[in-house]
């Protein structure tokens, strides 16, 4: 079963509230993410393991950016840095006008809740929460200003959007991989963050499910959400606005766009 792709704005609610707050709509710099000389290494000296080395990259508002490259080339490392779940060893990282490379853990947590949705290859749903509860949790943690009923309504709406209307009360263990990943996407987009980072979200899925997931993420760009999409699937990458190709922790080329 593949979900029908609809405009996430379909629900009346979405049109009444702007997806991005006004400050973000008229930015000084059109780039949402500005990475400069971003480096992440583990260990020191000879034993040092390089994740990414001196990567500079701009991610534009509302674009679908695909990141490709061979295994170990630093795609996940870059994605984690941009998503704020890892901290660079050096370099600067500005996302949506905020420097996040030197933020304290708790402020960074708040920032993540409000500004980024993350989709993992391994889903990482909370095993003890049902699908709808998992999605609600993101709303709660992002401190979305809405009552409990409202949060639940939005969560159900997000699940409907990913085509899981019939599965809202299921636990992760009772769902297939593709279904779990769609819950993951619902969780990432329900807070309407300006950016979604997805690290091989289709990696654990078959082609059909993978394609559906990709379509869902691509659909989000239509409402202005920026999507960073890490993949091994060159065919999917072709459909992106731009494609960043990495090798040995560096950016080899950037294709597409103007």
């Amino acid at each position: 079963m593949s979900p029908t792709v609809r405009d996430p704005h379909d629900g009346g609610m979405h049109t009444t509230t702007p997806v991005l707050d006004p400050a973000h709509v008229v930015p000084a710099n059109p780039a949402l993410v500005q990475a400069r000389d971003l480096t992440r290494v583990w260990g020191k000296g000879h034993a040092a393991q390089i994740g990414v080395a001196e990567v500079s990259l701009d991610v534009r508002r509302g674009e679908l950016l695909a990141v490709i490259g061979p295994s170990g080339s630093g795609k996940s490392t870059l994605g984690s840095l941009i998503a704020g779940i890892d901290v660079p060893t050096s370099g600067s990282l500005v996302v949506d006008g905020t420097r996040i490379d030197q933020m304290k853990p708790d402020r960074l947590a708040d920032w993540r809740g409000a500004h980024v949705g993350i989709v993992f290859q391994q889903f990482h749903l909370l095993p003890t929460l049902t699908a709808v509860e998992n999605v609600e949790l993101a709303l709660e943690l992002a401190r979305v200003d809405a009552g409990r009923r409202e949060r639940r309504r939005r969560a159900i709406e997000a699940l409907e959007w990913v085509g899981l209307a019939a599965h809202v009360k299921k636990l992760p263990a009772q769902m297939s991989g593709g279904e779990q990943q769609r819950v993951g996407i619902a969780r990432a987009m329900v807070t309407r963050p300006p950016m979604i980072v997805a690290d091989e979200p289709t990696g654990a899925l078959d082609q059909r499910n993978g394609h559906a997931v990709f379509e869902l993420l691509a659909g989000l760009t239509s409402v202005g959400t920026t999507v960073v999409f890490i993949t091994h699937d060159l065919h999917l990458a072709e459909s992106a606005d731009r494609v960043v190709s990495m090798i040995d922790g560096r950016i080899e080329s950037v294709r597409g766009g103007a």
Partner: protein
Amino acid sequence: MRSMLRQFRRAPGRILASVFALALAIGAIGVLAVPTVSESTLHDAVGQDGLADIIVDTTPLDADQLAAVGDVSGVAVAEGQAIAAVELADGFLTRLIGLDLDHQTMDLVQLEAGRLPASEDEVVTTAALGAIGSHVVADGVSYEIVGHGSTLWWSGDDVLFAPFDTVAPMTGGANHLVVTAIDDGSASLHTLSDDIRAELGETGATYTTFPQLLPDGSTPIDDDIEQVSTLIGMLGIFAGMVALVLLAGTTNTLITERTREVAVMRALGGRSRQLRRRLRRIALGITAVALLVGLPLGVFISNYVARMVLTEFVGVTPSFAIDWVVVAASAIGALLAARLVAARAARRVTKLSLPEALRDRDGAPFGGRWTHRLLAKLPTGGLIGRIAVRSNARRPARTLAVTTQIAAAVAAAFLIPTLVSSVNDFNTATLAPWTWESVAIARDPGLPIEASDDHDRLGTSEAGIWVDGAIDDEEIWVYGLRTDSTFFSSDVREGRWYADTGREAMISNGFAERRDVAVGDTIPLELANGTVEYEIVGTVDDSNVAVYVDRADLAADLGAPGMANVVWSSSESPWLDVDAAVRVDTAADLAAEDEAGRDAVVLIFGAIGAIVVGVSALAVLSTMTVNLFERRHELAALQAIGARRRRLRGLLARELLPVGAVGLVAGLGLGALGARAIIGSFESADAIDIGVTDAVVAIPFIVAGTAAALLLLAAAVVRTTSKRSIAVTLRGAA
């Protein structure tokens, strides 16, 4: 061994915590060895010392009387010692013990330093009374200290040992008779003791205390030691149970967390049997390492506690001993338990359907049981709260283990103050009916009642009799008082105060209830020199085991009409006009003594309690560490979607606090029951009514302490988990 090392490298902290907690638990079982260790020390001492089988304090005996006792059939050896009460220059009242040092076979003085006295002006004593070579003045006579040492009988007391001829002139002969019997069985000693009593009676000697019997090579404090040991043993069993829960929990987790690894190996063609054997080996390896640390620790703990018990109660410093039975039993027990649990867990892990096992990270999928599905349908409380409740339900065995561990710690923490308050209340209650400030105890044959009443120039005084007796073989204090005594004032619960007409007695209420004695009954009261009958006319609430009778009646019964052996006084330092008094105990002295006794109990149980609390705390810590290790992805995912560390702390607190609350309630109940069991055992061993006073004051502290410890634990683990980068945690394979 190789897999063990790999194991260790994978999660050193976790393995170390398990091994250490396990080791401590195994070590705590060591307290079971305390009785053996103590007894072996005591029996060594008995062997060296030549402790008598029957010990009697009498009026002075001459050589003929002694010889007569020696001729009683069944007596192997009878020796006379002379014991005089003396006052040292600083006012310290003690005893000068005259021994026939060249011929004696019993109560041999064990020297720590120096030599035995060779002349009448030389003594052996403890270091507390002076250095070797210095002099000690007793009743105005100066003696040179030539050695330091004591006998088992007198160990713990600062007394002086001198040649018999030094003391005999003071006492008028041997007044302390020690006897070894040919057959030292309990029954034959009783018969022999009666024969000796009859023989002594015929020769005209009297005595007011019962002969003391030490059958089968026992020592006077054997009973005390055994009782304390039993209690310690109970705590040992408790510690053992904590250890078992811990062992089972650790083993289970060690294996369960390999579910996926095992599934992969099965998928690659690994045979279940081999995999099971491998898993069992890992569990046994960790237990073996824990034993390596735990057994020596147990030997140390048992010796440490035994030393404490013996020095506190006996004044003997024990030598090092090992109870091999306990060592072997705890080793075999631990290995067997580990094997049993490991086998079960391994079977479960290898039987799980492959797809399920491969998909799941930690072998405990949520949603598999009806309880999970039910909980998932109950959307009560906040989301974080739901995660907390369901996570506890996801691992019921672990939740139960943590609850038990908390309960164990709380029980120990509640039991100790309850023991203290119970003993305190009991001490206060036993002294409550008595209003004297001091009691002077007279030397045999006592002092004339008429001459002793109202002789204290500093206050009022009253002569009385205080001896031990027995009713149907149960020991009881016998007090002979004036009918209008002003020093004993207890409420009469039933009946009335005794009168001085005919043999009337009041009896302790607790004793009356226990022995089913009622007002109006006539009881046979066994005194040192025979059995007499008294009619019970009243019962009193005195928290004691005592019978109160008219002093004139009692004096006559004891064969010394008109004589008394104690003088109670309203003054702390009475000035008595009689020179027969040997020792003056003030009420304050006795209270201090009670307190010292209580402190000893507190010290010993406090130490064991601390061990139990420590083991439980470590066990909780270790269980929680494993728990959080398993759930690291979950916690990292929470952080990734915007949870602050405070949220994680909140989540863990919500998981731990309800568990803590249940553990707390169970623990308080368990502690209260435990205190009752311990006090009950004291009561039945000593035939007294102590009663339990629950230390309610301690409850808020225990509650606060438990909550604080759990919150601190939550904070500490969150700190550790959030040290790693979220990305690193999330990418790590299960």
